[in-house]
């Protein structure tokens, strides 16, 4: 490279650098690239803790039992998704009262995906090792239940036939039974629950209940209030259920219903379907999380769990203790037969009777409650045909109540005449009437 080229190259470089430097400074000063401009003012009044933060103050968990449980044996059957920690508050209460509690693990873990979505699975205390399936061994429940005074099932995803038989026998001998399921339950294949529900006389509806307006820290954590007589709900104002499925019973003494504004996920319509029903000695709850250590601090869950414990030990099983195994079945006694059962007329504005079919024992009073107006109640066909019940011929408004006590064995098919064509038909069967 000769001198001329060097000179030219140096001149180019020097000038280039100078131009870039000066130009850059000028450009920055004139604001082409800088952040010297003042920030425009913005207002975000919603960023206010009072406005967005829910109340987290924990309540008290003061679980108390009224009754003594000395000598009582409670069998608790837990599903794979439920740890012993989850049921600890109830189990501890029962033990403290002197009961013997046998926790047996049943079934495979429930589906991992809940309505919220996949969640992280931190290490959890596992329930006792699940029994190997397909073995020749006896079902644990068929060993445990004959000697038990009360049975509680919580979050079990499926029952085998032997288990169902054992539970059936237990229920038929008036053993106190509480079954807790959650909305995921319905997604379990081949669960055996239909059989169990027909034994309980209670069943679940698909979907879960939520409330976006008033809830306990999450829309699925709903509040429910007592309805009907109070045994499980004595002293209870509100209970928090996390992720609850609606439950129904052919007849029920006691219910817990979600507060106003609660919505059923499947219909996205407001619902007052209960999330707990109790019919005599059996109860079905649509939630498995109401009794965890955390949740017993919320609302009146502690009182409710205490009542559950009292319910479990308060039974009067006709064949408690070791069974001679001769019959296995005990005669059903009438001392716990229902005195009053309720039939709802057009609940939720739907033109149906709920339940559609009601089976009762003679001497039971049926209470017809008009949940919507514009209906009457007319027996269409009765057996015997000259049965004195005549229903309510006049069209009545919401809130009307008609009660009738069916003293003898009979069968009744009744309609609401304005909606007869839509199939608004109900049936009451009293005892075992003779076929027509």
């Amino acid at each position: 490279m000769n001198r001329l080229q060097k000179t030219a190259a140096v001149a180019f470089l020097v000038t280039f650098v100078a131009v870039v430097a000066v130009g850059g400074v000028v450009s920055a000063v004139t604001g082409g690239d800088g952040n010297t401009a003042e920030l425009p003012e913005v207002e975000n009044p919603q960023y206010d803790a009072d406005r967005v933060s829910p109340d987290t103050s924990p309540g008290t968990a003061n679980i108390q039992m009224d009754s003594s449980a000395t000598g009582e044996t409670i069998v608790v059957s837990v599903g794979g998704g439920v740890s012993e920690r989850d049921i600890e508050p109830l189990v501890n209460t029962l033990i403290e009262a002197g009961a013997e509690v046998n926790v047996v693990s049943k079934g495979s873990p429930g589906p991992a995906i809940g309505p919220i979505g996949p969640g992280p699975q931190p290490p959890r205390a596992r329930p006792p090792a699940p029994q190997p399936s397909g073995g020749e061994e006896e079902s644990t429940l068929s060993e445990e239940l004959p000697e038990a005074d009360a049975f509680m099932s919580i979050g079990v995803s499926s029952y085998r036939d032997e288990d169902i038989d054992a539970i059936t026998e237990f229920i038929e001998s008036d053993g106190r039974t509480l079954v807790a399921v959650n909305p995921q339950q319905e997604f379990a294949p081949d669960s055996g629950y239909a059989e169990l529900y027909s034994e309980l006389g209670a069943y679940t509806e698909s979907g879960y209940v939520y409330n976006l307006a008033e809830n306990d820290l999450n829309y699925q954590r709903i509040f429910a209030e007592p309805a009907g007589s109070s045994m499980l709900t004595e002293g209870v104002d509100r209970v928090v259920f996390d992720t609850a499925t609606p439950v129904r019973a052919a007849s029920s003494d006691e219910r817990m219903e979600p507060i106003d504004g609660s919505v059923l996920s499947t219909t996205r319509a407001e619902t007052d379907l209960p999330v707990l029903v109790r019919d005599g000695d059996v109860a079905l709850v649509g939630d498995t999380g109401f009794l965890t250590p955390e949740n017993t601090q919320r609302a009146d869950n502690d009182v409710f769990v205490g009542n559950v414990a009292d319910f479990l030990v308060g039974g009067d099983r006709t064949s408690g203790g070791p069974d001679d195994g001769a019959t296995g079945r005990t005669e059903q006694t009438n001392d716990t037969a229902e005195d009053v059962v309720t039939v709802e007329v057009a609940p939720d504005g739907e033109n149906v009777f709920a339940p559609r079919v009601t089976e009762i024992e003679p001497g039971t009073t049926v209470r017809f409650e008009w949940k919507s107006g514009g209906h009457n109640l007319v027996p269409e066909r009765q057996q015997p045909e000259d049965h004195p019940w005549s229903g309510v011929e006049e069209i009545k408004d919401e809130g009307f109540v008609h009660e009738y006590t069916f003293e003898e064995e009979s069968a009744h098919r009744f309609v609401s005449e304005p909606y007869q064509d839509e199939g608004m038909v109900g049936v009451i069967v009293v005892g075992n009437p003779e076929p027509p």
Partner: protein, 328 residues
């Protein structure tokens, strides 16, 4: 480039030749320098239209909202605010949402920009959850008839109790309390919902409860219920923004804030959401999200990503086997 213009090397150059060459070199350097400065200052010489009254900047926000996009948008918009030649902004939105923190940075900088100049948002396929959150300060939200907007809320996993960990100095250092976690999630969701009420409460015809169902609305429905304002394409939004800025003639400049190459990738796993920062990620490149403002159905499951990337795996395996088989 200037040296190419100089005459070829010769031995007997005169003094006047030297001067001419120097002048040419200096002149070339000045031109080159000015060009570089202009390019660096971002004035956008390219595509200039001398007859235009001003410029509408189209800022494209694409893909999952995870850092560094919050950084990039905030500095991009502060530059736009400081740039006198830009008169209006249109956000070209196409995102399923993302993490709360970058979203709020973007929301605030969009809000500031909207205070200073006309700013519209134009939704392409989807601007849900965090995407919806950040674009709310826009004067108008344009949607295509089947764009999806909404999903107001938080995608979170259910807090579960965990056994105690020995070591930390306090109980909340690791792990927490289920009730506190629930409250935190509820607060995060409420911040979003209340922002919707604050920003668009006068236009949205749904109650707070209806908003908080986190429903996603199609464009045609969203202009009906007030989640969006107009049906129209990006061009409609740009023309409207120019009009608002009083420009008869305008040019547009495009600004990209999404990271080149499409990374990071968002994916669902059985344990929650993750952002993946590398094509062949190590553990350090995968970041889990406990709480995210995303429209989950728009996020692919990790197994779907596997299926896509798996196409080249069998090839390698086959090659390996074959080469192995060839050698006895």
């Amino acid at each position: 480039m200037s040296s190419q213009n100089t005459p070829g090397p010769s031995t007997g150059t005169t003094g006047s030749d030297q001067t001419v060459i120097l002048v040419i070199a200096v002149f070339a350097a000045v031109i080159a320098g000015i060009f570089v400065v202009a390019a660096l200052s971002g004035a956008g010489i390219t595509g200039s239209d001398s007859s235009a009254d001003g410029t509408v900047a189209v800022v494209s926000i694409e893909g999952p909202i995870v850092q560094p996009i919050g950084d990039q948008l905030e500095s991009e918009l502060s530059e736009i605010r400081a740039n006198d030649s830009i008169d209006a902004v249109v956000l070209e939105m196409n995102t399923p949402g993302g993490a709360p923190a970058p979203t709020e940075r973007m929301y605030l900088s969009i809000q500031r920009t909207s205070e200073q100049m006309p700013l519209h948002a134009s939704v392409q396929g989807l601007s849900a959850s965090a995407g919806y959150y950040m674009m709310m300060p826009a004067e108008k939200i344009y949607v295509l008839p089947t764009s999806q907007v909404g999903s107001v809320g938080l995608a979170a996993s259910e807090p579960r109790p965990a056994p105690p960990v020995e070591g930390p100095s306090g109980p909340n250092k690791r792990g927490s309390n289920v009730i506190n976690d629930l409250a935190t999630q509820e607060t995060l969701a409420n911040v979003f919902i209340e922002t919707v009420v604050e920003q668009r409460g006068d236009r949205i015809e749904l109650s707070r409860e209806e908003i908080s169902t986190a429903k996603v609305f199609l464009g045609v429905n969203s202009v009906e219920n007030g989640f969006a304002d107009e049906i129209g394409s990006l061009d409609d939004a740009v023309a409207d923004a120019a009009d608002e800025a009083g420009l008869d003639d305008y040019r547009t400049v495009e600004r990209e804030v999404s990271p080149a190459g499409g990374l990071p990738i968002f994916a669902r796993t059985d344990h929650g959401l993750v952002a993946i920062y590398d094509e062949n990620p190590s553990l350090a490149d995968v970041k889990p999200f406990d709480t995210a403002m995303v429209y989950e159905p728009a996020i692919p499951h990790i197994s779907e990503l596997d299926a896509v990337s798996a196409s080249d795996v069998p090839e390698r395996t086959t090659t390996d086997t074959e080469s192995g088989g060839d050698q006895p």
